[in-house]
Each structure stands twice: as structure tokens, then as C-alpha cells.
Amino acid sequence: MALVTLKQGTPAHRAYVVGAWALAAIVLIYVIFAYRWGFAPGSIDKAFRLTQINDVICYAVAILGLNLVIGFSGQLSLGHSAFVGLGAYTTIILVADHHWSYLATVPVSAALCFVIGLVVGLPALRIRGLYLAVVTLSVAYVFPTLVVKYDSLTGGPNGKKPARDTGKMNPPSWMPFSNAGRLASPLWVYCILVVIATALFLLVRNFMKSRPGRALLAVRDNQTSAAVSGINLPLYKALTFGASAAIGGIAGSMLMINRPFASDVQFGLPLAIFLVVGLVAGGAGTISGAIPGALIYVFVPYFMSAWTTDQRGMPPGIKQVTKPLFDWLQGRQGAGSIAGVFFGVGLLIFVFVLPGGFIDGIRRLRSKVVQVIPNPSWLRELHGSANPPSTSHSPSSGGDVTQAAPVVATVRSRVAKPVSVKKAINLRGKTT
């Protein structure tokens, strides 16, 4: 049983929700001022670490896009690295060869990737599951080859970057950190990326609460029942692929804003696989899961690799246990590869301990402390119609809480119902 029980819609619950969002906002904003205030956990006042944090934001957006296809519409797509790469190359080519500003290229990347995503999504109309995975995997496989093939455009294996002395994002003078020296540019990039990422996260969040969002979930849970319910399956599947690719493309553009250099190996199969790994580790089908997923993708291999050469930065405790192993590894051929092995073992353990991903684990942990009793607005309105209007929209009076028990029962039955209805449709769909 949870320590605290909050009913949805009450001031306490609202304070809880607002407080959580405020905390997240404070954390995001604090990063900008960490270098001034002297307290910088994880050395976030260093330019390099900021660049890594910016990477996390970019990959979080990429995973968010992938989540739309895998987590929400239930189609296994392994080709997302190609869309991230396409977005990245769109940006870098427009910036380096045609002197566009970075932000102007973002919509172009999104539009281009949307169209290509639609095309790649076409097979998804006919095939499912592992077969679709193989088809999309081929996209991820082909993309680096295309980059090398069209080297006059992409720079081929040497990569592409803007001309020297250009391509660095400098903050406008009115920003508080415009005179922060080496930190100015990464902080400015951080601000831009946070704004883009926040917009995309809110967009996806609201989309999933909308009618098409629910349709998507219905497609994931049972295609037949979704079709019977009047959902246009081909349209939704194709559009999901398109939208997901567009978000992936934006993520690619964001990566280039952060670190203006693109190479074929950067957007190869490892990225395709690791985006899925990040998605699963963060939590498939959860919007916030993209953030821990990206943190894992960026930081776990980084620290693993760093510790194989230098164990000074290791957390004490682990250090003493693993020291003989790392000492033994040092100077051996392929010692760097061991970081990948540790990463793999870590993931295995992770999947066993937190099968629903990081966010699921957090939610289970949270449910031990705070339990929110659902009381959605439609129910409040329904309930309020029998009550004086003053309490209907803002059920803030204490009396409302005492009346909670029967309401909760109603809510639970309402919440549980769609599942049983779906099952019913499912059965019918199978027999007919």
C-alpha cells in the first residue's frame, strides 16, 4: 500500500503534478546556470559534458520517434538509424554547401524524412512482425552504403562538416551565458535543443491522448479489432511510419546542431540496434522512457570505455571489485571491446530486473510511495451534474474526498472495460 494516496483533480494532486513538472523544469534550467553557481554535479559546467548532454537530448528525440512506431503502433522497425542519418545529412549538406542556418534545415529534414518514412512504411501495410523488422533493417543497412556511393554530396567515408570557422552556434548577446567563453556555444545549443525536444515530447504526448493516438494503440493491441472499430489501418500505419521518421530526421538535424560532423559509420547498423536497445531499456510505449534510454545509450558505453583505460573516475565500491579485471585487461589486444561486453551483460541484467524498462521500474517504485486514484474530468463532470456546480469543475472541498470510494469503483470499471470489449471484438474477429 502506498504511503500517500492522491485523488486525481484535487489540489494535492495538482500540486504533485505541477511540482514534478516544476522540478523537471528547474533541473533543465539549472544546467544553464550550473557554471555560475559553482555547484555542478557530474561536471555539467564542462563544455564536453554539455555536448554529451546535448547528445542525450538528440537521441531521446530519436528514441521518441522510434517509440511511435514500435511502442505505440506495435510495428517492429529497425531502420531508424537511416532516418536519423538522412536528417543529419540533410542539415549538414544544406549548411555546409548551401549556407543555410541550422534551424532552417530542421523543417526540411522533417519533411524529407516524413516522405521517405511513408515510402519505407508501405511494406508495413502488408507484412508484420519479424518480416517487417527484416525489411526495415535493410534500410539501416543500405544507408551508409548510399552515403559512400554519393560521396560528392555526402563527403563519403571522410564525412561531411561545414567549412572551418563556420558552423558554430554562437548565442545572441542577450543570453545570460553569452560571455561564458567556451561554454557559450554548447549552452546555446542546449537551449535550442531543449526547446525543440520539449515541443516534440509535448506533441507526441498530446497526440497519444487524441483520437488518432488511441487509434494507434488499438492498432497495436489488436489489428483486427481496430479495423472492425472503423480504423483505417493502412493510413494509420503509413502515417505512423512517416511521423516517426520525421521525428528521427529532426533528431538527426539536432545532432548536427550539436556536433556538426556526419560520417557514414555514425548512422550504421549499431545505431539502429542501439536505438531499439535504448527504447527497450527506457521503456517501450512510454513517452518519458526515451530520456533514460538516451542516457543509457550515451553514458553507459562512454563510462565503460573510459574505465577500461582509466579507473580513476569509477565509483568507489565497484572500483575495488572490478580492479583486478580491468588491470588484467589493460594493454591487451581488443581490450576496448570489453566495454561492449559489459554493456551487453548490463543490458541482460537490466532486462531481467526491469522487464518493462526504466520508466516502468520507476513507476513501480513510485506506486509504493504515491498512489493516484483516477478521477478523470468526464467523471467529475458526470459526478458534478448531481452536485452543486461549484464543486463539479474544481472538486476541492473535503467532502469530495469522502465520497471517493464509490467513484473509484466506477472509474475502475470504466477503465477496465475497454480491454474486455476489445477481447470480445477480438474473439468475434477470429471466428468470423
Partner: protein, 513 residues
């Protein structure tokens, strides 16, 4: 309703933020008319550039007697003795060959003594320690092995050389990440031997903007001679352009009867660099290129290319390619019964075990293929009496490393140059500083003891930006067709020291050809 207002404000806020962001960002994207070249040029496919690093050291089958450089004292340069004229004079670093550094052009927080204390000199390298080319990671261990030997014998004026190596899995974006981190750490005096052409191209703008000595790159691209555009970056290996020039000189001297040449060229910067170098050097000779076949890195085989090449009946065929394509090309030539040209192959394919062994498995040999070599093979019994190779073997054995692993020897070559640079810099006015390290790197006069006797390794400021520009042709000779053969020297040493000058020559040749 509450949510609507909240949504509106968020949408407005985000919209406003976008407008502000797009107005405020000053990317200076318009002013790119005069850009430094080569940033987007292409080079060899994965492995091409790096194989040269190991191949040149791995397979050289020199038979010559050793140079006298048994220990690492090296020759003293004109300026390394006391009272040197080079160094920090009136706020400017003055080197030889008109090479000067104005520290005022460096970032405001540039520190001349960064990474240099009374006890230590910190160096950094990014190279593959995982992935398909993880074997090259041993190069850093080899370099560290030599530094350990130097440190055990007094170091650089009592300072120990410490080399930190970071894994980039040969991925240029990872190299960039590593280099950005190393620059941000503000603890390294210089970078050395970053491996791979694409990897170095990804970072050299940054290292030059940061005034970070970025020395002895582990790739043979000609770009590292761009002393004007990138004064802080130097190479070490024989570059592909010069290698092809050596082919031309050798052909003119040893095979005056050969007139027509056909080229098989990897369709990238790497292959074209060879082609440009060869065409540049045959001007005025009786040689002429009658046909050039390009191939892509994705080509499944070279059968079509060789059908066309064989039809030319050219006297000479140049294999300006690398990796498995070398083996395929040798196989195609050997299987052809009517066309028997002189075969000259890229030095990146010099590893007998890697590129000739598959031929033996097919019942072929690859015999009579020529390549250029310039470093001694530490495993060749003919070199067993070489005092430096003896030192190498003794030291590695004492350190618990396997001296037969030739990548360690390559590491020793790079570390030897780095040590000489540091020693020279310590003798300049102002002592051991990063500015002086850069001056010393552009004024190397000492000859590496692992170079084939008679070759030199010299830099001369703005005039000569290439370190090794000579080599000797070697012929792959097979006595037993079922076993592997070995490279036997063919013809005299050819040393083009100082003739290439800077990358400008290469650019002009490439534009003209």
C-alpha cells in the same frame, strides 16, 4: 478550461522561442568562400589509410646493415644544442624554414605549458581499440612501451612521457568526441598518431583552431602537408602521392622499355591521390597512362575491370587500391595467360599474411608483385644484427610484450619521432613548451633508426612539410608456390626528400591532372 490555456501558452512560448532562436543564431554560414581545402575530400575506405601504418613496418624486408643509431640519442639538429636560435623570441615562436607561430592567434586561454610539468609530459591519442580494426590499438601500447623505455632512462630532462589512449573504434565521429573531450580536459601538451584519414580530417580544424599540436598522424594522406592551412597538423608516413612518384622514378630507371601504363584506381581520394602522384611524376618521361579503370568500394569483384585493362596490353599495371581488392587484382592478373605486365601495388597491401595468403589458398602466388617499402622489418632475420631492433626486442621482452607483433614496432617508430621532437623542443629558447613542440615537429632532422638505411626523415618548416619521402622497390619473390614468399629489394633506394614541398604541390598536380 485549464488545459487549453496551458496548451496555448506552451505553444506560444515554443513558437516565440523558435523565432528568437532562428534570429539569434549567428552561424556565419555566409562567409565560406575561402575555405580550407580537403575538409570534404574523400580517402580510402575503412582500413586503407591505417593499413599503411602497420604494413609499412610490418612487411619491409630490408637486408641492409643497420644505421648506427643503436640508442635514442639521435643526431643533434642545428638548433637543439644550447644557444638555439629557434624558440620563443619577442613573443613569437620562430622555427626553421620560415615556420613561425604567433601565440596571439591562439585562443585567449591557450596555455603554453599545458600538459607539461617538471615531472610529466602528457600526450593523447585516439585510435581503434575495439571493432574490426582493434588490432591497431596495439600501436598505442607500442608507443607507450618506447616511452617507458625513455622514462626508465631519465625521460625528457627528468620528465616522464605519459600517453593516454582512447578508443574510437575507427569511427570519425567518435574520434571527434574523444578529441573534444581531450581538448576540454586541458591536460595534454600534444596529440600524436591519431589513426585514419577520415578520423584526422574530422578533427584537424578543431585542433588547429585550438593550437593543439596534432602530430605524426597515422595515415598516408597527402593533406597532412598542408602547413599553410593547418600548421598544427603533421604526418609521418610516406604519403600516397609520393609513393606513386617513386613508382614513376623506379620505372623510368629500372624498366626503360616500359612505355604504356594502365591503372586500377579505387574511386576515392586514396586511389586518386596515387593516380595524381603518378601522372605528376611521368611528365617528361617516356611513360604514358593509356587507360584508367575506376572501381567502387562496393564492387563485388574486379573481373570487368581486368577484362578492360587486359585489352590495353599495357606494359605496366598499377594497383592503386587496398584491402581485399589487392588480393582480387593479383588473382585476376595471375589467371590471365596472355597479359604479363609489371605489377606495382599500393604499399598498404604489403602484409604477406593478410593479402598473399589467400592467393596460396587459391593455388596462386602473387609472385613478382612490386611494392614500395621504407621501414625495416623487425622480424626479418637479415635485420637481426641491427642495434635498434635488438634494443626493441630486448625492451619488449623485458616488458612482457611480444616483439614479433609488428604493430608494436610501428608504435616505436611514432614514439621515436615524438621523443626526438620533445628533446629538440626542450633545447629551444623558452624551453619545453607547446609552441616549441610544434616548431620542433616542423624541424625534424634526425633519421629514424628503423628507416631503411640511406633514407631520411626531415621536415623544413614551410618548405618541406613531409617527413618521409623515400623508399625502395621490393619484389614479392616466391620459391615454393605452395608457401608464402618474401619481399626482395629491387633496384636502388629512391629518396625524394624535400621535393614534394607542401600540400599545395599535390593540390596543383591534382587540379592539373
Amino acid at each position: 478550461m485549464r488545459p487549453t490555456r496551458w496548451k496555448k501558452s506552451v505553444v506560444l512560448g515554443v513558437g516565440a522561442a523558435f523565432v528568437i532562436a532562428s534570429c539569434g543564431s549567428s552561424t556565419k554560414a555566409g562567409s565560406t568562400a575561402t575555405t580550407v581545402a580537403a575538409g570534404t575530400a574523400t580517402t580510402a575506405g575503412a582500413g586503407a589509410a591505417t593499413t599503411a601504418a602497420a604494413a609499412s613496418a610490418a612487411t619491409t624486408a630490408g637486408t641492409s646493415a643497420a644505421t648506427a643509431a643503436g640508442t635514442t640519442t639521435g643526431g643533434t639538429t642545428a638548433g637543439s644544442a644550447g644557444g638555439a636560435t629557434e624558440g620563443l623570441v619577442n613573443g613569437v615562436y620562430k622555427g626553421i624554414g620560415d615556420f613561425n607561430i604567433d601565440p596571439k592567434k591562439c585562443p585567449a586561454d591557450w596555455n603554453d605549458k599545458q600538459g607539461i610539468t617538471d615531472k610529466e609530459i602528457d600526450l593523447f591519442v585516439s585510435l581503434p581499440k575495439s571493432g574490426p580494426l582493434a588490432g591497431f590499438g596495439l600501436l598505442a601500447d607500442g608507443a607507450s612501451s618506447y616511452f617507458k623505455y625513455i622514462n626508465d632512462n631519465g625521460g625528457i630532462g627528468g620528465r616522464n612521457i605519459v600517453l593516454d589512449a582512447k578508443d574510437d573504434a575507427y569511427k570519425p565521429d567518435q574520434t571527434k568526441t574523444n578529441v573534444d573531450e581531450a581538448l576540454g580536459a586541458k591536460k595534454y601538451a600534444a596529440f600524436m598518431t591519431v589513426l585514419g584519414t577520415a578520423n584526422n580530417l574530422a578533427v584537424w580544424d578543431t585542433t588547429n583552431d585550438e593550437c593543439m599540436p596534432h602530430l605524426l598522424n597515422g595515415t598516408g594522406a597527402a593533406q597532412w602537408g598542408d602547413v599553410k592551412g593547418h600548421p598544427w597538423t603533421t604526418g609521418m608516413q610516406l604519403d600516397y602521392f609520393t609513393e606513386a612518384s617513386l613508382w614513376a622514378k623506379w620505372l623510368a630507371k629500372e624498366h626503360p622499355e616500359a612505355k604504356t601504363v594502365a591503372e586500377l584506381t579505387f574511386n576515392n581520394d586514396f586511389g586518386k591521390s596515387y593516380s595524381a602522384g603518378f601522372k605528376y611524376s611521368i611528365k617528361g618521361t617516356g611513360l604514358s597512362v593509356v587507360h584508367q579503370e575506376l572501381h567502387e568500394g562496393t564492387a563485388p569483384n574486379l573481373t570487368n575491370q581486368f577484362t578492360t585493362l587486359a585489352a590495353t596490353k599495357a606494359d605496366v599495371v598499377l594497383l592503386e587500391t587496398t584491402g581485399a581488392f589487392c588480393t582480387q587484382a593479383m588473382s585476376e592478373i595471375e589467371k590471365n595467360t596472355t597479359w604479363k605486365p609489371i605489377v606495382i601495388m599500393s604499399g598498404t597491401c604489403g602484409s604477406v599474411a593478410q593479402f598473399f595468403k589467400p592467393l596460396v589458398d587459391q593455388g596462386l602466388t602473387g609472385a613478382n608483385t612490386y611494392i614500395i617499402q621504407n621501414f625495416k622489418d623487425v622480424n626479418d632475420p637479415a635485420n637481426a644484427s641491427d642495434p635498434f631492433i635488438q634494443l626493441y626486442q630486448k625492451t619488449l621482452t623485458a616488458q612482457g610484450l611480444d616483439p614479433k607483433q609488428t604493430t608494436y614496432a610501428t608504435g616505436w617508430i611514432y614514439a621515436w619521432f615524438m621523443t626526438e621532437i620533445l628533446k629538440d623542443a626542450a633545447g629551444y629558447q623558452g624551453g619545453l613548451t607547446r609552441g616549441n613542440i610544434m616548431l620542433a615537429a616542423r624541424s625534424i632532422q634526425e633519421t629514424n633508426p628503423l628507416l631503411i638505411a640511406g633514407l631520411t626523415s626531415k621536415m623544413d618548416g614551410m618548405k618541406d612539410a613531409y617527413l618521409t619521402e623515400g623508399g625502395r622497390m621490393a619484389k614479392y619473390t616466391v620459391t615454393d608456390p605452395k608457401a608464402l614468399g618474401r619481399f626482395v629489394p629491387s633496384g636502388d633506394l629512391i629518396n625524394l626528400e624535400g621535393q614534394l614541398g607542401t600540400y599545395d604541390t599535390v593540390k596543383a598536380a591534382a587540379a592539373g591532372g
